[in-house]
Symmetry: C2
Subunit: 352 residues, 2 copies
């Protein structure tokens, strides 16, 4: 069956009016009184609406966008769509954009700058009005091209130099500081950290925070940051070795600054037959099934996902409307330390 194509002209003919009228009616927003606010006779409008519905008319956005230059759509490019952190942000952005009648296109750069480059071409060709990007590694050059083109762009999660971009960032220094400080207040002194060697800003900042907390506690000499491979199976092995040696050395706790590193940490405990808290304590980052369920609860730093999504979208809209001041263009959010699991404050067996 061929795809039905009902145009504005079909509606106009059937309703006995001009295409202009139909266009007016179809674009009219409903006022608060339920009335359409457009310079069209109420009865005519009603008739047009009816005919449009009967015929199954749907606006051809390609044509509308071509003519008007606006597409009422934005693109969100993350480095891995299957990463929970990103997919939650995507969902939240979609929800808030949807309310304003904006369509969101999601794309995944797979942590690959070349692919990011091509994706950006694609979405620009789609006439999106703006971009929200979680920069992949080495994204600087690719994104500088975007800023040359002049398409409004907001980056989040990782920082990128350049004052053209809107930036929505979590204070990762503070996050790392909180993580280490929590452990210090628990009475631990021998606290180490495991991080990736790839040097993304968010991780470097968390390392800085950890270091700062240790130094303030007069434990600067005990700072130890282990760097592991980014690739999963290598990383997993690395962590097992690090944990095993650390326990021998008398290490009491670890700051594990990403969700995955946290999981590697738990895996190491399992493999080594160690117990969380009894043998070793962790502060993890982000929520995971593990920290949700673990008993005793595993303290973890959570990023304000919904807020990141909302602020990114709001900032982008402001930039699209060219109303964003330089102040607006940098949003700094704080992470939070969760001490109980997501189920922590819920009824326990005792309450039954």
């Amino acid at each position: 069956m061929a795809i039905k194509k009902v145009t504005i002209r079909d509606v106009a003919r059937e309703a006995g009016v001009s295409v202009t009228l139909v266009s007016f009616v179809m674009n009219a927003k409903e006022g608060k009184d339920g009335r359409l606010d457009c310079p069209v006779n109420v009865d005519t409008a009603k008739r047009v609406l009816q005919v449009a519905k009967k015929l199954g008319y749907r606006r051809n956005n390609a044509a509308a966008s071509l003519r008007s230059g606006r597409s009422r759509s934005i693109a969100v490019i993350v480095s891995d769509l299957s990463n929970q952190f990103f997919s939650e942000i995507c969902r939240d952005i979609e929800q808030v954009a949807y309310k304003e009648g904006y369509t969101v296109i999601f794309l995944s750069s797979e942590e690959n700058a070349d692919k990011l480059d091509k994706l950006i071409d694609t979405v620009i060709g789609f006439n999106v009005e703006g971009l929200i990007v979680a920069p992949c590694l080495d994204a600087e050059q690719v994104l500088s091209r975007v800023s040359n083109i002049g398409i409004p762009t907001v980056v989040f999660d990782r920082d990128i130099a350049g004052d053209h971009y809107g930036r929505v960032l979590v204070d990762n220094i503070d996050a790392g500081y909180m993580a280490a400080n929590y452990l210090l207040h628990q009475g631990f002194g021998k606290i180490e950290m495991i991080s990736y060697q790839n040097g993304v800003t968010s991780l470097l900042d968390r390392e800085t925070g950890y270091r700062k907390a240790m130094e303030e506690a007069g434990l600067g000499d005990d700072v130890r940051i282990h760097k592991i491979d980014y690739e999963a199976s290598a990383a997993k092995k690395d962590v097992i070795g690090i944990v095993r040696d650390a326990v021998k050395r008398g290490t009491e706790a670890f700051v594990l600054p990403t969700k995955k590193i946290g999981l590697y940490g738990f895996n190491a405990l399992n493999v080594l037959g160690l117990n969380i808290q009894k043998d070793l304590s962790f502060v993890c980052f982000d929520e995971s099934d593990i920290v949700d369920i673990s008993k005793p609860a595993v303290p973890h730093i959570v990023q304000p996902v919904a807020e990141i999504a909302e602020r990114s979208y709001a900032l982008l809209r402001k930039m699209i409307e060219e109303k964003a001041t330089d102040e607006d263009k940098l949003v700094r959010l704080k992470a939070k330390l969760e001490v109980g699991g997501r189920f922590g404050s819920e009824p326990t067996a005792a309450s039954f």
Copy 2:
């Protein structure tokens, strides 16, 4: 800064050729020999390419789509983008589509049929060539409208009656059967199941499979399927109660037919102070951080995510090209039982 707009005409003028030539060149696919296959002089083509690059030309897809009627894009609508199962499928679809030069728009219906309806309007307005949909609850009517319009549509995860759709489904009866059967072979007899009361086909099928395995084992009288609320906090409470009562009754094992229900199960164990395997055994569904890390390993049914993605996309492409036979339009895939965690076959402490 205004958005730079370089059109095909600018390139044509600068290169001293007609717009037609430029269009030819810009649409030419690279042949295997690296040569462009288009009826254009090689040198001319090269010059056009150079000028296009120099000027920063990018095709306006809205215009191209308007004129050609094809958009080289498809839409994927899932019921929750932040659900790992869906987001992995999205990523995989994106990857395979990208290779063929197709853009994918992802949307999230939030398990809401009305929203699905609107999203479909939106993407049709975007001139997408086809739809891949994970039906939300009550999606039947909404989707029947799509099939009237005649836009090629593939559904996955949940079945929908109607022979217009392509359908990529996992054999959930078999999956439920495998789950129960595994427990039976472990020597358990008192096996129960916890499921949602919302009656989606995939769950009903898993229940059927469980029932079938029990009946074949002569344990038809012991079949017990607990139905819980879909809403998380209610569900969590329900499961705690169910597990507590079940253990008292001497239940040995549970089939937990979704990832979330599995997590509720683990939560119940925690809250009740029970041990997996010692006090109660589970077969879960889908991968999660828990089943990855748990020790002893938790057997779980995994769906062939990559295959679902690939087959859905391939089928949709075939339908778009009107080459899909009725045979093609139903793809049945098998789930697999994983007995070890994802880390199961990896090096353990002993190997260090």
